[in-house]
Subunit: 338 residues, 2 copies
C-alpha cells in the first residue's frame, strides 16, 4: 500500500542497498547515483519506514524524557530546552510522566515501556528514593539527568547548596537573624535540590551563629498555594521570622500573598527571597537566585547526544555539570527594621 524502498530502487534502476546508502548519506556512493536516487525518492514522496529501519538497525532514533511533572513551570521549561536539541539532532522525544501525584492511582513502572523502545534516557529530577529510579538507572543505555546526582551518569544542575547559601546570606547581610525556611516537603521524599538547599541554608545560619528554630521551617510543596499556607504557619508563630527563604519562587509568591493578607508588606515588614527567577518574579518584585532553567535542558540533551555519538573513539566521560546562578535583588528583601 505504502511506497517502499524497493519501489524507489526499481524507479532509479539500482538496488535497495544503494538506495539505503544514498538516502542516509553513507559514503561509497557515486555522486551521480546519489543525486538520482534522491530525486526519485523525492518524486515518489518516499519516506523511510521507521519501524523497519529500527528493526534492522537496532537503533530507535528516539529518546525518553522522564519527568515527575509536565505542566509545572520548571519542568515545562526544561522539557522545552531538551526538545529544541533533540529536534535539531533528528531524534524523537517520548515524554513520560512518572508522577502519580496527578491522579493518585497506582503508577505503572516505566521500565518495560523503555526497554527496547528508546536509545537514551533523559531523567528530570527524580527523587533518589523514588522506587522507579533504580530500575531506570539499571537500563543499559546512555542517560543524562537534571537535578540529580548519580555516580557514572551525566548530571546537570545548578549548585543548589550554593544557591541557597546566596539567598540566605543575602538575608543575613540585611541584618536578619530570625530567618524562616519554606521547603518543599519533609525529608523522606525530597528531590536532591531540596536536600542541598536545606543544607546550604543551614550552613549559613550556623556560620553566623544564628538560631535554627525547627518551628521556623514549613513545607510548601513547590506550589503557590502551598507557599501561602506555609507562610501563614510561620506567621502564626509566637515570634514570627523577619525574613524567609523559600526554595522556589512560586512558593514565595504564595508567601507574599500570605504576608499581605496579614496587612504586612513584603520587603517592608518581612523580607522574602526565592530561587528560580520565574517570569512573574520581576513583576512581583521578588528577590531571587536566578537559574537558567531551559538551559539545563539544553545542556543535558547535548550531553546525551554526545554519549550516543561518541561510540568507540573518544569515549564520553560522565560528569557533573554545574550551571551558574545569579542573585537578583528586588524590593521583597530589605534591611531589617529594628
Amino acid at each position: 500500500m505504502s511506497i517502499t524502498i524497493r519501489d524507489v530502487a526499481a524507479a532509479a534502476g539500482v538496488s535497495t542497498a544503494t538506495v539505503s546508502r544514498a538516502l542516509r548519506g553513507l559514503p561509497n556512493v557515486d555522486n551521480a547515483t546519489r543525486e538520482k536516487v534522491k530525486a526519485v525518492a523525492a518524486e515518489l514522496d518516499y519516506v523511510i519506514s521507521p519501524s523497519a529501519s529500527r528493526l534492522a538497525s537496532g537503533r530507535t532514533g528516539s529518546i525518553a524524557v522522564i519527568t515527575p511533572y509536565i505542566s509545572r513551570w520548571f519542568f515545562s521549561e526544561v522539557i522545552s530546552g531538551v526538545e529544541s536539541i533533540l529536534q535539531k539532532g533528528g531524534l524523537d522525544m517520548l515524554l513520560i510522566n512518572v508522577g502519580d501525584y496527578q491522579n493518585g492511582h497506582a503508577r505503572i513502572p516505566p521500565t518495560p515501556r523503555l526497554k527496547r523502545r528508546v536509545d537514551g534516557l533523559l531523567i528530570i529530577s527524580l527523587p533518589p528514593q523514588d522506587p522507579d529510579l533504580e530500575p531506570i538507572l539499571n537500563l543499559d543505555m546512555p542517560k543524562s539527568m537534571i537535578g540529580g546526582i548519580t555516580q557514572g551518569v551525566d548530571c546537570i544542575a545548578i549548585d543548589d547548596f550554593l544557591a541557597a547559601q546566596m539567598a540566605t546570606e543575602h538575608l543575613v547581610q540585611f541584618g536578619h537573624t530570625r530567618i524562616g525556611l519554606i521547603a518543599g516537603g519533609p525529608a523522606e521524599a525530597r528531590f536532591v535540590a531540596e536536600t542541598q538547599r536545606e543544607r546550604g541554608f543551614r550552613s549559613v545560619m550556623t556560620r553566623y551563629g544564628l538560631q535554627e528554630d525547627s518551628m521556623l521551617e514549613a513545607f510548601g510543596r513547590f506550589t503557590i498555594e502551598g507557599g501561602e499556607r506555609a507562610m501563614l504557619a510561620l506567621l502564626n508563630q509566637a515570634v514570627p521570622p523577619t525574613a524567609v527563604f523559600a526554595m522556589s519562587d512560586e512558593m514565595a509568591f504564595g508567601a507574599m500573598q500570605a504576608i499581605r493578607s496579614r496587612g504586612l508588606e513584603p520587603g517592608e515588614d518581612i523580607s522574602i527571597i526565592g530561587i528560580d527567577n520565574h517570569p512573574m518574579s520581576g513583576y512581583l518584585n521578588l528577590s531571587t537566585v536566578a537559574q537558567p532553567v531551559a538551559q539545563l535542558g539544553v545542556i543535558a540533551a547535548e550531553r546525551l547526544l554526545a554519549q550516543m555519538f561518541a561510540l568507540g573513539d573518544s569515549a564520553h566521560k560522565p560528569d557533573l555539570v554545574n550551571v551558574a546562578t545569579t542573585l537578583i535583588e528586588r524590593s521583597s528583601t530589605a534591611p531589617r527594621k529594628r
Copy 2:
C-alpha cells in the same frame, strides 16, 4: 543478544504464534497455556520489541502531539492533560514543537517526521494560516485538534466568541464605555481563538453602541511583557480606556503592572479582565473567564482514542466539542468612577 519471542516459545513449549496471542490477550488461547506463557515471559524478563511488532502489524502505538509552544502555561497544561490519557491508553506520546518562534531558524516541515511514525495526531492551536497545517491535515490518520476549527476533524475548544462576550459584557455592566482590547497579534497570524475573541469583543461593543476606537487595541503576544507594553501604549492615548479586556491572563498580569507603574490601581482606576484563570490570577485578584485547560487536553485525547478504536462497527463521527467557561469576578474589575 536480547531475548526474543522464540526464546519464550521454546521455554514454554509452544509456538511463537501462541506466545504472541497469549501475551497480547487475544482470544482463542487456552487459559492454562496463557498463564504458562505469561509466567515464562515474566521469568525471562521478556519485553516485546516494539520495532518488530510495529513492522509486522503496521501499528506504531504512538501518537504525535504537535504544538507551537511547550513551556507556555496554556500549552504545558494541555499537554499534561493529553499525556495522562495517552499513558492510560498505553500509547507513546511524541512531542513535536513546530514553533520556529524560539530560535528563528528555518523550521523543518514536520510532515515527513509523522508519515509512517505515528497512528494519530493531536494538534494544539495551530493558526489556520500556518503553512504546516494543511500538509498535516492531509495526513491520512485519526486526528483531533484543540483550539482550531476544521471540517471533518474533532475539534475541542471553549467557545472563544462567548468567553470574550462574557468578559466584555462584564465590563459594560460596570458602566464602562471606553474599553480597550489587548489582543495577541495582528490579524495575519492569529490563532483561531484570537479571531473569535476579537469578534466576541466587538459584538458586545456594537450591541451597546459603544465606540470602537482602533487606537484602543494593542498587541501583547500572549506574554506578560507584551501585555505590559500593550497596556502602556493604551495608557499613552489622549483619552485612555477606563477598562481593558486582555485575551489572556498573562497579558493581563503585565497590563496590571503597567497600570501600577503609572501610579494607578487596577480595579480602582482602570478595570482589567482576562481569560484563563491562570494559577496566579487568584493571587493577583484578576477577574477572568475561567477555562478548564488540562481538561481540553483530556477530551481531545479521549476523542482521538475513540477514533482509533472505533474501527468499523460504530464509526466515530468527528465533531466540535465546546467546553464551558465561567466568569470569575475579582477586584481588578469594578464599577466605573464617574
